[in-house]
Amino acid sequence: MPAKDIVSPDRRSLLKAAGAAAALSLAGRIPEAEAQAPVTLRAMTLQRAPLQMKAYEAMVKGFEAVNRNIKVEVLPVSQTDLWPKLAAAYAGGDVPDLVMQITSENAVSLHGQGLLQPVDDVVRALGEADFEPAAQNLFKDKGSYFAVPASNNCVSLLWYRKDLLGEAGLAPPQTWEQLVNVARRLTKGDKYGASMPYGKTAMTNSITWTLVYQAGGRIIAPDNSVVFNSDATVAVLEFLKEMHPFMPPGVNRYDFSDVLNAYVQGTSATCMYTGRAIVNVNNENPSIADHISCVPFPLRSLDRPWWSGAFESLIVPKAAKNAAAAKLFAAWNFKLDTYVEFINATPGHQIPMLKSVLASPDYLSHPLLVKYRKELDVTIDTLSKAHATAKPDDKSPLIVKAGEIQNSGIFAETIQRVVIEGEAPRRAAAWGQDRIARLMRG
């Protein structure tokens, strides 16, 4: 496929993605036969808000126009359903060719089971050096990339209401202790101080890592032993229990959407969430749009900073039937115009993982990002210091069962035991330890 076919006269599309796709095909990665036969590419995605789906449509349209023999089907899946879906898909031999925006724990686990194809060619074609260093570090195992870093989002933020904190004379909290205080002070009648997840949900499971790391603990030690039952975990459980009365009554069932909703609707004065708060507040409750801001999520102790990023990536399963086409489309994901359209479908939520895009005016010119430039900078800054939960620092080995652990629901259950059933944190931590150990054995 000659390169000039791909390059549209549009200035923005002259950028690297198209070039990368061309490089891939020119390098003869697509066998002649496959290039000729019509192929349906099944690409699963975990980001599926309506505007994101629209952005995908545009992305696919552009891709199909160039690669006339490839049809792309985008399969949206919720975070909660991902694991069952994958189980069913693998068990049934009906594996997607590409999974987009999969969070790092899940990508690492699939890699740990030896289920992923190396994607070095895609990463190299896009320019390895352009990726954030943490991402390079995370997805490169034994010298080879098992996932293409795609975007990041930062749940490790605390959104707060400037007006409410100001009225109460409170500063944005930096430590757990301060957060408890803020939450307590702002809880009055139907208004609550904070919003965090306590449900048996994906969000509860995913933030537990962060809190344990912040408390100085780990879940899996570098030697792969389970160390969940620690003082740090107990501290986390106690913190969550202390916070619980300052949250809306339904918090025991909260997942991502509920946590954010409580803040957006004005029910809670603060919430733990990604930059999506920006767009949701502006769409659903503009009356508070001028009063929102965020800080990095408070730490247990200021001398031990730890924040997490989702490190969403693109992966190509080994069992994919159209791996070459999948890689081609993976590279196409980064074609600047549609990439930015996708990222900014939820402005502030998805943060590009390519340095060049992060600095590009195409990205930064979105009106909401202009308006909330300060909050965006907090997000970007926090993410630059953030790690993936499956690799809490650059030196640690990958926790190859991170996905299994997170999806098992053990975290949420441990928390619920303490907060809802009133079990002693130490006992609950021991229970969680035992469950995780069983899981690691299996």
Partner: protein, 296 residues
């Protein structure tokens, strides 16, 4: 030409064949597979299959999660049966009277049964919403303390039982109502002549007449409720903690969240054995019920 009897038999088998083939292929074979695979360790992603003998079974019997789910299953079953049968009989008795708008009332009462499970779950979740739910609004309006209906115990279990019973009690109403309508009026007249009170008319005339139908309904509902998945999953997802995790939910969790297919199937097999006991009881009760000569 075949003799007519043989031709008839052949035709009979031909008519039955599609049913038998489909049942065998779609249920018989998977059932055998389920039992076989329960002796294996099976990972759905890697499709690695290792024979482990009885390990899955010893595993679940040693696991307190299993026993909690087992207990939950029976709490759910007993609660649901009690509510839907009790409620169903009461409503059937009320609807059996002559009153204004009886026809409409009889139609309306059936609606919950026809509501898709998902719709039922969503409507109730909305009504039970912590802040904006109508239930809590009314509850607090009556001067009562706000209640967390779905995420503390025992509230969550009670709530799913109430919602589950709300959804299926019309089944009991219709079945009982049909029976009530066939009770000869003379029996009541005789009782009245004998000076029986309303209450004793109910116990001495009505109950014996509907007892047979009731016993069949109880078992039928028991068998269906025992395996209920959708409603509980959609209402609570098995939470809080594992407060409303019944065996079907545990099977789902083991298979699709923890990836222990073998263990999940072992639990399913144990469930099936429990069901067999219920089915045996059902068969016996049907055999004793004079109205039905269906199964002999």
């Amino acid at each position: 030409m075949l003799p007519s009897t043989l031709r008839d038999q052949a035709l009979g088998y031909a008519l039955l064949a599609p049913s038998l083939l489909l049942l065998g292929g779609l249920l018989g074979w998977p059932l055998i597979q389920a039992v076989l695979l329960s002796f294996y360790d099976m990972h759905p992603l890697t499709r690695r299959v290792i024979y482990v003998g009885l390990e899955n079974y010893t595993d679940i019997f040693e696991d307190d999660m299993f026993w909690r789910a087992f207990a939950n299953n029976f709490v759910w079953l007993a609660g649901s049966l009690f509510l839907q049968i009790g409620g169903g009989v009461v409503v059937a008795l009320l609807l059996n009277r002559t009153f204004i708008g009886r026809g409409i009332a009889r139609s309306l009462i059936l609606f919950p049964y026809l509501m898709p499970v998902l719709v039922a779950a969503l409507v109730w979740r909305w009504m039970l919403d912590d802040i904006h739910g109508i239930v809590n609004y009314a509850w607090i309006g009556m001067g009562l303390k706000r209640i967390d209906w779905l995420s503390t115990m025992p509230n969550a279990m009670v709530t799913v039982i109430v919602v589950g019973s709300w959804r299926v009690f019309p089944f009991v109403v219709i079945a009982v109502l049909a029976r009530l309508q066939s009770i000869p009026q003379q029996l009541y007249e005789a009782a009245e002549v004998d000076g029986a009170s309303r209450w004793s008319q109910f116990w001495d005339v009505t109950m014996p007449q509907i007892a047979n139908v009731l016993s069949v309904i109880v078992l039928l509902r028991a068998i269906w409720d025992f395996r209920e998945f959708d409603l509980i999953f959609l209402m609570t997802g098995g939470g809080p903690v594992i407060g409303t995790t019944t065996l079907p939910l545990l099977v789902y969790k083991e298979a699709f969240e923890l990836f222990k297919m073998g263990k999940a199937l072992a639990i399913a097999v144990v469930m099936m054995l429990c069901m067999l006991v219920l089915i045996a009881a059902y068969l016996r009760s049907v055999r004793n019920a004079p109205a039905s000569e269906e199964i002999r």
